[in-house]
């Protein structure tokens, strides 16, 4: 089980007066890949937004690498090495692919290693090298997702949160991105939190998973446990 490298502990999130997360907890060991799954509107995006400082939590704690980081903003989370690839990619459409990547190099260290990181990214996705000078807004959905993932990697994350990277994409492209994410995780100990609606797809990549329903985590376990869970089978796997 997890050794509390990254620990989200009983967080609650409200949008105005409406509470959407209740005591949500999940954790990941260093280098682990976990999945947050659940249907549309369950609170997956809100969970990763909270876990990356994009929305404020009320109550609960977020601990990373032995440090409590609750209450920080997105930038302070990034400074700790936590980076979000948000839902819908959120690229800069009137900037080139290269400019988009460069914008991802936020910290001093990432800035200094910018060139090397870009070279590495080009070996993962040769397509992006071809498209380096093209405006990001004119790319296909798959290419945009590659840029989004790569822009996140430009910040040299220790923890990468990916919010529905597969949304609207062909399975082969999703497999490509997942394969690379897995390799980076194995090679450099990158910890990944993956959000997916599709349980089967998510568990291809993740070792463990959490099922969110209406802002509450009801089921959790290893990939195998979830795939064998009767409730999960009925509600999410259509068996």
């Amino acid at each position: 089980m997890a050794d509390n490298y990254f620990q989200v502990d009983k967080i609650n999130v409200k949008y105005g007066d409406i509470q959407v997360l209740w005591d949500v907890s999940f954790e990941a060991a260093k280098g682990e890949i976990i999945a947050l799954v659940g249907s549309n509107g369950a609170g997956k995006s809100t969970s990763v937004k909270a876990a990356s400082g994009l929305v404020k939590t009320c109550g609960g704690r977020i601990v990373f690498d032995g440090q409590e980081i609750t209450g920080g903003n997105c930038r302070s989370f990034i400074d700790h090495g936590i980076i979000l690839c948000p839902e819908g990619r959120q690229l800069f459409p009137q900037m080139t692919v290269l400019e988009n990547l460069e914008m991802g190099a936020c910290s001093k260290e990432a800035e200094a290693k910018k060139k090397d990181t870009i070279e590495k990214i080009y070996t993962w996705f040769p397509k992006l090298k071809e498209r380096a000078k093209q405006m990001a807004g004119t790319l296909s959905g798959g290419e945009q997702q590659m840029v989004a993932f790569s822009r996140g990697m430009m910040g040299l994350p220790k923890l990468l949160l990916m919010d529905e990277p597969s949304l609207g994409l062909a399975p082969t492209i999703v497999d490509d991105i997942f394969r690379i994410a897995k390799r980076v995780s194995q090679e450099s100990g990158l910890t990944i939190v993956l959000v997916e609606q599709d349980v089967r797809k998510a568990l291809k990549l993740a070792n463990r998973g959490y099922v969110l329903e209406n802002g509450v985590i009801n089921i959790q376990g290893t990939a195998q446990e979830l795939l064998n869970n009767e409730e999960v089978k009925k509600a999410y796997l259509g068996i």
Binding site: S52, L54, P86, E99, C106
Partner: protein, 291 residues
């Protein structure tokens, strides 16, 4: 009407339009990044005219020399207004707050000016005031020409800043996708403060130029505030380049209009054209949506 008069009118229009272009650009810069319509842009211009006036009356400073100083002061004023007031008024529950805030700020600024300076018209003498250069039979007022040069320099500098500096890239990124900006670690609050500051600084440059051949009084912002909305409607809301041409277009419309229909009716003409543009644009939009 002979062509010579017309050409002279067009030249004058381009010169006058330079100020409109700057004020429109500053409005569009703020709108493009923050998606808020700043209703006190004219009053920021008024404030910078008074600052230029004070430099002149207290220190005897030439208005054109004061440009960089006024720009820097206005940047500070703008950044302060944004980071202390506007940022607090932007909440999830709609944009009306910002609208009211900037409106009220405009009223507050012009009334403060009224309190401090009375309603007198005040001028600042430039060494270039009343100077004219002649090109054949055409005459160009030197301060207006310098104002136009200042506009061109400002525009070029803005572009260099937006495309080649770190903060410039961050401003562009934030305007294109605010969430994307946050997740790449851009301090959007700083970007917003800088953007509003830049908008105010551009108004400051316009104000200092304007002061060399025009007079300042507390309500002077009204004229330019209204004009700035015409400019951005013509050039496109949010587009800096559009504002450049929109401003010059409006200037030409005014001067050529006053040749054709007489100075007394030029404003009427401008607003008629403005309404026509709005109607035509809207119709085109509707047609595009249908087609």
């Amino acid at each position: 009407m002979n062509t010579e008069i017309l050409i002279q009118a067009i030249i004058n229009g381009i010169m006058v339009g330079g100020i409109y272009a700057m004020i429109g650009m500053s409005l569009n810069m703020i709108f493009g990044v923050m998606k808020i319509v700043n209703f006190c842009q004219g009053e920021l211009l008024m404030v910078s005219m008074y600052i230029t006036y004070l430099f002149y009356s207290e220190l005897g400073m030439e208005p054109f020399v004061a440009i960089p100083l006024v720009a820097v002061i206005m940047f500070g004023v703008g950044a302060l207004i944004q980071s202390t007031m506007i940022t607090r008024s932007i909440k999830e529950d709609g944009d009306q707050n910002v609208l009211f805030l900037t409106c009220c700020l405009g009223i507050f600024l012009s009334n403060t000016a009224l309190l401090l300076f009375k309603s007198d018209y005040r001028t600042a003498e430039s060494v270039f005031s009343n100077k004219v250069v002649s090109l054949g039979s055409m005459n160009i007022s030197v301060p207006k020409l310098l104002g136009f040069v200042a506009l061109c320099v400002t525009t070029v500098l803005i572009f260099l800043m937006l495309y080649y500096t770190k903060i410039g890239k961050q401003i562009r990124a934030t305007s294109q996708n605010a969430i994307g900006a946050q997740v790449t670690g851009i301090r959007t609050k700083v970007v917003y403060a800088c953007t509003y500051g830049l908008g105010a600084a551009i108004a400051g440059i316009a104000g200092a130029c304007l002061m060399s051949y025009y007079y300042v009084y507390p309500a002077v912002g009204n004229i330019y505030g209204t004009r700035s909305f015409i400019v951005v409607t013509m050039g496109g809301l949010g587009s800096v380049v559009g504002a450049f041409f929109g401003g010059i277009g409006l200037g030409i419309m005014e001067t050529v209009g006053s040749v054709i229909v007489g100075a007394a009716f030029k404003d009427t003409l401008v607003f008629i054209v403005f309404i026509l543009i709005l109607v035509i644009k809207e119709n085109l939009n509707i047609r595009r949506r249908k087609g």
